[in-house]
Amino acid sequence: MTLYQIIKREMREIFLQDPRRLIFVFGAVLLYLFLFGALYEPGVVKHIPALIYDEDQSHLSRELIQNLADSESFDFVCETSSQEEMAQLLGNKKAYMALLIPRDFSQQIAAGRSTTILYTVNGGNLVFANTTAISAQDIVNGFSDKIASRYAALRLNQDERLLEKKIAPVNYTLRILNNPTQTYLLFFSIGLSMTAFEQGMFFAIGASVHYDFKHQAELAATSIYKLLFGKLLLHWLFSMLAFAGFLFLASVWDIPVKASWSELFLLGGAFCFAVLLLGLLAATFFSTELKFVKISLLYVVPAFILSGYTWPLESMPIYIQVLAKSFFPLTWMANAMRELLLSGVTGNIAENVSVLLGMGTSCLLFTPRMFQCGLQKNLIKH
């Protein structure tokens, strides 16, 4: 068969005999974008149910409560009248956070002494703990500074505004880059879509390989190299189309695309190359498509977690980092893709692209031989 005939045959398989392959390549990435776009649409966790137990019931405690109530991070759903009630409501998950203002709160402050508010949070879900802790500490610290200036001014007979500068001389300005509102949508959905994209490519190329194994008569006297080239070329083109579709649809969920299209397509192209070759090589090891599909499904969760997309690679043991960088193309794609989309730049795109091309090329060295072995094994079997 000529290259043209090979490609025509693959097209016939994809469009007529097994359209699932197209669905996997296009559908996986786009559907996951939709699914996780819907999941993380609120962006940040807000209005976490919280409790207040004000033992003091003074003007000062109510001022503090008012400051806390203005926060979007939590919503006071209940005011309790005992510690037992507070513990029970926390235990039953009617609320996830509680603040206890002690009985002598205003008295201690008026006497020039310090007092402690107890902040209790259910640490089972760290999202609650992180969100409420940062917000509560910020508000209480600001309140503390205000009270300190006010009472120090009274005690020392000085101007409150001058004392504010002594109590809180340093303003800490925070600039959050790339994901300024820290929305989970921008944090998660890009990497999850790329994971699904990888899976879709695995399914598609695996189906293609096993179709050839079962229909060897159609391949009579065809060069393996030409066959593999044609197969890869077609699947790579469709994958790139799916990738472009993802970039277009990303705007539906307000995911910015700040990098140049050439950089994005360079990275995407190298990723597709690596994944398709890895999938092609892996598929040749298995006698049936079902076995390959099972193994690729086992691969997907480790690929996502080991990519360092959520839990950073630097916080993993060295041997896990080596494993992640050597066998998982997603490690070189997910973070870089997120950085390109959100900030327009990434650390070293040349390194990422080179490694991905290197991974693909390494797989390519073994693929023709393994493909040949697979053909022979299946010939004997059938």
Binding site: V121, G123, N179, L290
Partner: protein, 398 residues
């Protein structure tokens, strides 16, 4: 009853006759426990790479920098001399956090004026950002209170009175259930359940699709008997694997097990039942085994993230909330974590009830669809057999 027991025995032997699928099934949750326990071993994100741009170069600025150097959350790797250098390091990914101290920092403080320190955080990865923000707040507070105390002492107060005057309202933190805010306790139980789910997906989902294509069992085996007989070995082995994974969580990764073991096992048992029933439904709907394993990619795989284990259910809206509601892992993951960390789960019985109801519903639907498909293929087989018999009988009339 005899036929039913035969079915169970055959399926059990079939699982162990082929070591590859048996290992896949049994070891997947254990493997997930080991691998991801190792990944989250550090428990908290530390040593966040950081750069400092100190334009002041004074004793006071160095005190502030020292607080960050002493913190194990941050790793001060670069001292830069320009803002451009700082931004370049952030863009190159060499640092995730940067601090810029202005040139008149100490002078402004001495003159009782406000000054500003700028922090830049790369928040592309929220985990870095959250860890940095929490620690940054504490460090800055420590520094500010120290300065404020000195200022108050300068106004004639004694040190302890100055501290109280500068910092009257403290916040005491009590974190229940996961006091070290460890990532292992936060995510690993759910990941183990997800591993169990994937193991079941790989082994159970092809069953009914294969039986619809090849009628191994005659009409003397009812569809219900087949579903039950084939499901029981997987349920039992799944429960064993789950128990082993719980052991791994407790002994290897020090995840506390505060609840009674029977509650954890009961939850696991009901979860496995529900998942098997749902997977039977997928299997009954699919034309072949391969597609049966591929189709749940949109259902089982996103399950962990839709379970409410990390992104909470109360923050889900509309479609996401509904989709989360139809997944078995939503009713197991959080309760399992609560049982482990707190010793009880407030919605345990409700979740078990929902899993049982959902499982029975899915199982009944699967049974119905399987019966329909079976009767179609069985009728075809009987017709074929009858037509062969008819051909074999000589036509004496002619």
């Amino acid at each position: 009853m005899r036929k039913f027991l035969e079915l169970v025995r055959w399926e059990h032997r079939a699982i162990w006759r082929r070591p590859f699928p048996a290992a896949l099934f049994f070891l997947t949750p254990v493997f997930f426990c080991l691998l991801f326990g190792a990944v989250y071993q550090e428990n908290t994100v530390r040593h966040i790479p950081m750069a400092v741009y100190d334009q002041d170069q004074s004793l006071m600025s160095r005190k502030l920098i020292q607080i960050y150097c002493d913190s194990d959350r941050f790793d001060v790797r670069y001292y830069v001399h320009t803002q451009e250098e700082m931004l370049a390091l952030l863009h190159d990914g060499k640092i995730q956090f940067a601090m810029g101290i202005p040139c008149d920092f100490s002078r402004q403080i001495e003159l009782n004026r406000n000054t500003e320190v700028v922090f830049l955080i790369n928040s592309a990865n929220n985990i870095f950002a959250n860890s940095a923000l929490t620690s940054m707040q504490e460090n800055n507070r420590t520094f500010s209170v120290g300065i404020a105390q000195k200022m108050m002492e300068g106004l004639g107060m004694l040190p302890s009175a100055a501290m109280d005057a500068a910092y009257p309202v403290h916040i005491g933190i009590r974190i229940l259930n996961n006091p070290t805010t460890g990532y292992t306790s936060f995510m690993l139980p759910g990941i183990v359940l997800n591993g169990l789910q994937i193991a079941l997906l790989l082994t159970v989902t092809p069953i009914l699709a294969a039986l619809c294509r090849h009628s191994f069992y005659g009409p003397e085996y009812s569809s219900f008997m087949i579903l039950l007989g084939k499901g029981i070995p997987y349920w039992f082995l799944g429960l064993l694997s789950y128990a082993l994974s719980l052991g791994g969580l407790a002994w290897l990764w020090a995840v506390p097990v505060r609840a009674d073991l029977w509650k954890l096992l009961l939850l696991g048992a009901v979860f496995i039942f529900a998942v098997i029933c749902v997977l039977y439904l997928f299997s009954a709907l699919c034309p072949d085994e391969t597609f049966a394993v591929q189709l749940p990619l949109l259902y089982i795989m996103p399950g962990l993230l839709f379970s409410g284990l990390s992104w909470p259910t109360l923050s889900m809206q509309g479609f996401a909330r509904w989709y989360s509601g139809i997944m078995p892992i939503t009713y197991a993951a959080e309760s399992m974590r609560d049982l482990l960390l707190a010793g009880y789960a407030p919605t345990l019985w409700q979740d078990i009830h929902t899993l049982l109801e959902g499982g029975i519903l899915a199982g009944c639907m699967a049974c119905g669809i399987f019966s329909l498909r079976r009767s179609g293929s069985l009728t075809g087989k009987i017709k074929k057999w009858r037509s062969k018999e008819h051909d074999a009988v000589p036509n004496y009339k002619t």
